[in-house]
């Protein structure tokens, strides 16, 4: 949504180690819990109504840990009433005049020392509006105060790349894919709003990431949606899932963006905290890169897009609170409401403005609304800004200054425009029917000065909000239950041995919620619009044509495995990276860059913080080894209900390039007689896998071994083979192992296969092990010698598996499963759980 959500790692930030050890901020779970987009911490109720019982209570509880209290409580009520008197805004002058007014900073999630720091920066107490702005910008969500010290590894360990035009710290990373073209892509989360109001939460999640891509100067060209839900048969899953899917589709479809892939994962750990992550990819000219810097004193500041309303205000001070369940209904108004039609017009207007070179700088409005956009553009420009809030078009004229500054109304952009070009910009906006208003001017004062109702309510150094926020090195501790979990290995569980048992297990896995056909979901998404979708789900990766003349295109995959990460977050993050890399490589593309969305519990829990640190370290190390840089991403903390956190869930997106998408490698079996060859090594690795979960509801042991060098080799061989026309298809092996890979490849086009499992290995292991670095290669008859020679030349182990053909998946000496029976099992699950529409035929 905004740069503040990026994994910004400014060098000047030395960790200040303000570990709140022994001083847990009891208000934090309620107020600091900065998480999903809306302004977590601006609890305007506290400001408007200081006598509110519950908030008062929280102030009390916060005081428990505070030695010196800010004045006696008596007096607060009367002062608060004066503060709240209509028509008497808390101006800068008033703040100077009344330095000792008590302020509800703790209720807004600020620590005592943070509040003191603000007073030192300003040389006085902040005004009501300033306090609101600091509390938002210094929130976890915006300041990354808990994650910064870890995230900087993504920069420090980044593999050198001459393709990076913009990286961490921008709205999204930008990667050059040809002399003239670049792509930009990023994942973000909108988890808490999507739980409270599934449709709007998901819709605005998509809208927010799309504006990030737009702000880079790119035309958004596709979206993907990694989704995670609780138990599939839980009644609340039936409430949340259909709404989130409809929201993703409703917004993306109406925006005209194809949805080319994603994930649908069920696990009870997400019951109270479903995950809505959204990826957007866009394309731009290498010369068309936009930036957010408000340079050039005298330039105009234009707010373009929807009117500003109260939606989103105070939203996530409620939404991000760690404890869900109580009155989710009442929180609904706090979720922003999306209007994809308005965003579609905003996109076209912005692109026309870019083409005519009419902006100096541009920034989207998302989390933290105007507060973030104004401070970041001014800070990035090293300038100042003077803004008149009375010019901001409002949906509700009664809005207070701090509400206007914190509103997260959707579909808005902030433009910095030279005075001579203002007229043309407004004309373009008019042509697309998008409201655009001049709200201020860039100055050379180095101060952000905001007037409202004729008085100055904000006068701050903008950089102090963006860059001078607190940085914490939170305490970390390995979860105490890990040693026990590691000892409880799935490899020791009873396995199917007879042909009938194996057959039954293959069908059971194929029908399991995490492995079954996902078309109940994906049919609700438009995958055709724009006419450049070469591959989309259920293929291994989404492939988009970028240049119709040359056939240049990109491949994208998003993957994550919370169970692996629960068992070993370092390995889990690398396994997510490895799978996304493998999926992209399986299409014949060359992986180039990485984005990520790190979904975790509360950073105030040392065990969660340890999981987070390990996952970041693993991902940074993995990207370095693979030689592809992290270009940006998003952190989502406080995904927990009460004391129970979700499994650590790093979701990793990998982008690759294809010189000619016509040569992409699909995943389905098609031609009778094609030869099936298994690439890679199969080890006895069942822990953390789908077989252990589906058959034994078991989670324990160690996840599969990570071998990134092998992933790289696998990619090299597939690309080389594709180039020589030695492949009719490739399908990666991952969740569910070889069995699931055969099921998916056969059902893709309704063409069966006959295979013989490798000698000297337990058939159950051969079918269900989730060893990494493996893929199923489908080679045209007659090319198998050339293909295996190529594999050997590169030192990649291969095993002959069988041939394509027939109307069944047949495993010699074990079992046959007719495709009809397999399809019935595979496609029946989601419709049975979530009702109409029935899955696609064929």
């Amino acid at each position: 949504m905004t740069t503040t959500e990026d994994q910004t790692v400014p060098a000047q930030h030395a960790p200040q180690a303000v570990a709140p050890q022994g001083e847990p901020d009891s208000a934090a779970p309620e107020h600091a819990a900065p998480e999903q987009a809306p302004d977590e911490v601006l609890d305007n109720e506290v400001i408007d109504d200081p006598e509110d019982e519950s908030d008062e209570a929280e102030l009390e509880s916060a005081d428990v840990h505070a030695e010196e209290d800010f004045g006696a409580h008596e007096g607060q009520g009367s002062e608060a009433e004066r503060l709240d008197e209509p028509g008497t805004p808390d101006t800068v002058a008033r703040a100077a005049r009344r330095p000792d007014d008590r302020q509800p900073y703790r209720a807004l999630g600020l620590q005592d020392d943070e509040y003191e720091k603000i007073r030192n920066i300003l040389g006085r107490r902040p005004t009501q509006a300033e306090l609101a702005m600091y509390s938002i910008m210094w929130s976890e969500h915006c300041s990354y105060k808990s994650s910064k010290v870890h995230l900087r590894q993504f920069s420090e360990k980044a593999a050198p790349s001459d393709r990076m035009l913009a990286g961490i710290g921008e709205n999204a990373g930008v990667v050059k894919i040809s002399d003239d073209l670049a792509v930009t892509f990023k994942i973000e989360s909108h988890n808490h709003p999507s739980f409270v109001e599934p449709y709007q939460g998901a819709a605005t999640g998509v809208g927010g990431i799309v504006r990030d891509i737009l702000a880079m100067g790119a035309r958004p060209i596709a979206v993907m949606d990694p989704l995670r839900f609780g138990a599939p048969d839980h009644p609340d899953t039936a409430r949340v899932l259909p709404g989130i899917v409809a929201g993703v589709g409703g917004y993306g479809n109406c925006l005209g963006l194809p949805n080319i892939g994603g994930e649908l994962v069920f696990d009870p750990c997400y019951q109270g905290n479903p995950l809505l992550n959204a990826l957007c990819v866009g394309v731009l000219s290498v010369h068309g890169l936009q930036n957010k810097a408000a340079t050039g004193p005298g330039n105009s500041v234009i707010l373009m897009g929807a009117k500003t309303g109260r939606d989103g205000i105070g939203g996530v001070s409620v939404l991000a609170s760690a404890t869900f369940g109580s009155g989710a209904q009442s929180q609904r108004p706090s979720v922003q409401v999306g209007d994809p039609f308005a965003e579609k017009l905003l996109i076209e207007a912005c692109l026309e403005i870019y083409r005519a070179d009419l902006v100096v700088g541009i920034q989207d409005l998302g989390g933290a609304g105007l507060t973030c956009a104004l401070t970041e553009t001014a800070a990035a420009g090293g300038t100042g800004m003077s803004v008149n809030l009375d010019t901001v078009p409002l949906r509700e004229p009664s809005m207070q200054a701090h509400e206007i500054l914190a509103s997260e109304s959707q579909e808005r952009m902030l433009l910095i425009v030279e005075p001579g070009k203002v007229h043309t910009v407004l004309a373009v906006a008019e042509r697309w029917g998008v409201p655009a208003t001049m709200i201020g001017e860039v100055t050379d004062t180095g101060r952000l000065v905001i007037d409202w109702h004729g008085e100055t309510v904000v006068d701050v150094p903008p950089a102090s909000l963006c860059d001078d926020g607190p940085v914490y090195a939170r305490p970390m501790r390995e979860p105490s239950d890990l040693p026990l979990m590691h000892a409880d290995r799935a490899e020791t569980l009873p396995r199917p041995s007879t042909g009938d048992e194996l057959r039954e297990t293959v069908l059971r896995l194929a029908a399991s919620p995490n492995l079954c056909d996902k078309s109940w979901v994906t049919e609700q998404y438009d995958r055709y619009v724009l006419g450049n979708t070469v591959l989309a789900q259920p293929e291994d990766a989404g492939v988009l044509r970028i240049d119709e003349e040359s056939g240049l295109g990109v491949a994208l995959s998003v993957d994550g495995n919370g169970r692996y990460s629960r068992l070993d977050p370092y390995a889990g993050a690398q396994l997510a990276l490895a799978e996304a890399y493998r999926n992209v490589a399986a299409t014949g593309a060359t992986p180039l860059a990485v984005t990520n969305c790190l979904n975790f519990g509360s950073p105030e829990d040392p065990q969660v913080m340890w999981q987070f640190a390990e996952a970041v370290r693993g991902l940074a190390d993995g990207c370095l080894e693979l030689g592809i840089p992290v270009t940006g991403g998003n952190v989502s903390f406080y995904n927990q209900t009460g004391a129970v956190a979700i499994n650590p869930t790093p979701v990793v997106g990998v982008l690759g390039v294809l010189d000619n998408v016509a040569e992409r490698v699909p995943m389905g079996l098609r031609n009778n007689g094609d030869v099936l060859i298994l690439l890679g090594d199969t080890r006895t690795e069942l822990s953390g896998g789908e077989w252990a979960w589906v058959v034994h509801q078991h989670l324990g042991g160690r996840p599969p071994k990570v071998d990134l060098a092998r992933e790289k080799l696998l990619g090299t061989v597939i690309a080389a083979a594709a180039e020589r026309g030695l492949l009719s298809a490739v399908h990666d092996l991952s969740d569910g192992g070889l069995a699931q890979t055969l099921v998916e490849a056969s059902l893709r086009h309704g063409v069966g296969a006959t295979v013989a499992l490798p000698e000297g290995i337990d058939p159950a292991v051969a079918l269900f092990s989730e060893s990494t670095g493996r893929a199923l290669a489908v080679v045209p008859a007659g090319h198998d010698k050339a293909f295996t020679a190529l594999a050997e030349e590169h030192g990649l182990p291969w095993t002959p598996l069988g041939v394509v053909g027939g109307s069944a998946v047949a495993v010699r000496d074990q079992f046959d499963i007719p495709l009809d029976e397999l399809r019935t099992a595979w496609t029946g699950t989601l419709p049975a759980l979530f009702g109409a529409p029935e899955p696609a035929a064929g």
Partner: protein
């Protein structure tokens, strides 16, 4: 040959329709919703999307766009007009075609590769098909269920104005599996699935959609069966 493709605010498949027109060998001309000028086009495509955000009803506002007044007049004069998805909805709202497109029976947006059976080849847009030819083109809509009163449906059937029916499953609950219809003259066709998404084997499930655009070129050239 010049074929116009209208862009309304919220049109999404206009680029795809223009690509299809080019692939069929015609010149694609962009038409703007609030400009009544048709720029001497020989035929017009109303593309898919969510014109005006589907406010009020899908197609209800587009129907009043300045460009539509010109198109309605031209259509009455015999100019070929193809309405795809939202374009079909616009044609119904503009009363160039009878009936209406309503919410899918299952209430979900649905995108799938859909089999159709071509029922009328005597239109400007389907000349290059053969009677009862089965084709596969993508369907993607939330409000694609064709409805009309029984009398109108009977008349459409009796006069051979059902241009295509869904085969192998009805994706949205359309009356009598209707996927596309025509006006009496046969120059105006509305179709819910998307021919423009099936013009390139690389990006579509087939290239069956190309024949719609080849047909209108053949029609305009005054001959039948011209290959695209």
């Amino acid at each position: 040959m010049r074929i116009g493709v209208v862009t309304f605010p919220g049109s999404l498949d206009d680029g795809d329709a223009r690509r299809a027109v080019r692939l069929a060998g015609a010149e694609d001309i962009g038409l703007w919703h609030n400009d009544p000028e048709l720029h001497q086009v020989d035929a017009v495509v109303l593309p898919g999307g969510f014109s005006y955000g589907d406010s009020l009803r899908a197609g209800a506002i587009a129907r009043f766009a300045p460009v539509m007044e010109s198109i309605v007049d031209a259509a009455k004069g015999g100019m070929p007009v193809l309405g795809i998805c939202n374009g079909f909805q616009v044609l119904c709202e503009a009363h160039l075609l009878p009936g209406a497109l309503t919410r899918n029976t299952h209430l979900h947006f649905r995108n799938r590769d859909q089999a159709l059976r071509v029922q009328s080849t005597s239109t400007s847009w389907t000349k290059n098909f053969t009677e009862d030819q089965e084709i596969i083109i993508p369907v993607k809509n939330g409000e694609g269920r064709y409805v009309a009163d029984e009398a109108v449906l009977d008349e459409l059937e009796a006069t051979g104005r059902v241009v295509a029916r869904y085969a192998g499953g009805n994706p949205n609950g359309s009356s009598r599996d209707i996927a596309a219809i025509r006006n009496e003259a046969g120059n105006v066709v509305g179709i819910m699935p998307h021919p423009e998404h099936a013009v390139d084997a690389l990006t579509g499930p087939s290239t069956d959609g190309l024949a719609f655009f080849a047909s209108v070129l053949a029609h305009l050239a005054g001959r039948v069966g011209v290959e695209a």
